[in-house]
Amino acid sequence: MSFSVKTEIYEKYTELILEGALDSSTAPLFSEEVKKIIPQNPDTLVLNVEKLDFMSSAGLRVLIFAKQKLGTTATLFLVRPQEQLVETLKMTGLIFSVNIVDNYPE
């Protein structure tokens, strides 16, 4: 299981599509991609994580970093996270900082 991240920029939002396993060996790839989009200052960041099979705290730290850099007005959507990922978000309190949706745009 490897990891890939792909960025799609739309007029009203930026979407990152994450697949595979996000651990401390692959989180730098995710982090680089996030750093590339921060200067564009999107109001809405959509993370499509439907095919993300594993995420450790290394991935959570990138989420926190992204939200902190984008500021309080930016909204973070997670599209179709797997149940285990939702559990990790609950355990760390991050569940309150993201919007979980089945599709974006809804």
């Binding site: 299981m1 396993a21 651990d23 401390s24 060996s25 594993f54 450790s56 705290s57 290394a58 959570l60 730290r61 989420l63 926190i64 970093f65 939200k67 902190q68 500021g71 309080t72 149940e83 285990q84 559990e87 990790t88 355990m91 760390t92 309190g93 991050l94 309150f96 900082s97």
Partner: protein, 144 residues
């Protein structure tokens, strides 16, 4: 079920994290253990192994360190032991984020401590000991 015991040695590099998780996942699957329990065990082990790789060995000035992973399945208890020769580090003494910290808005969240919190909360028992110059991190999952 017959007791099962396995031991493997991995290089202490980030690229070993996935093979360590695969080892646990395939072992769990052969033994018919619940997938959600196996995921959480992988998560816990991954967090501690990441700390050993990213902090423990670099702080010890060792660049060719190893992590021994042993798996023991006996009496409905799946036990993983990670052993390393990095700097002594007891995750149980690490100050965890408080409920107040966790409830903070993401903008005010501090990034530290999440991994150990996740590791400790994802298994039924977590223990640490330092013996014979080795860190031993012990993870136990009840499967009955």
């Amino acid at each position: 079920m017959k007791p099962q015991l396995q031991a493997h040695i991995f290089d202490a590099v980030p690229e070993s994290l996935e093979p360590i998780r695969s080892l646990i996942t395939s072992f769990g699957s052969v033994q018919g253990i619940d997938k959600n329990k196996i995921y959480k065990l992988c998560l816990a082990v991954d967090e501690i192994a990441s700390n050993i790789i990213n902090y423990g060995y670099p702080m010890a000035g060792i660049n060719d360190g190893t992590i021994n992973v042993s798996i023991d399945y006996n009496d409905n208890k799946l036990t993983i032991v990670l052993e390393d020769y990095a700097v002594p580090f007891d995750p149980l003494r690490k100050l965890l984020p408080t409920p107040e910290d966790l409830a903070k808005p993401i903008e005010e969240k501090s990034i530290g401590g999440l991994g150990i919190l996740i590791a400790r909360q994802s298994v039924d028992a977590f223990n640490y000991e330092f013996t014979d110059g080795k860190n031993r991190n012990i993870f136990v999952v009840d499967t009955d």
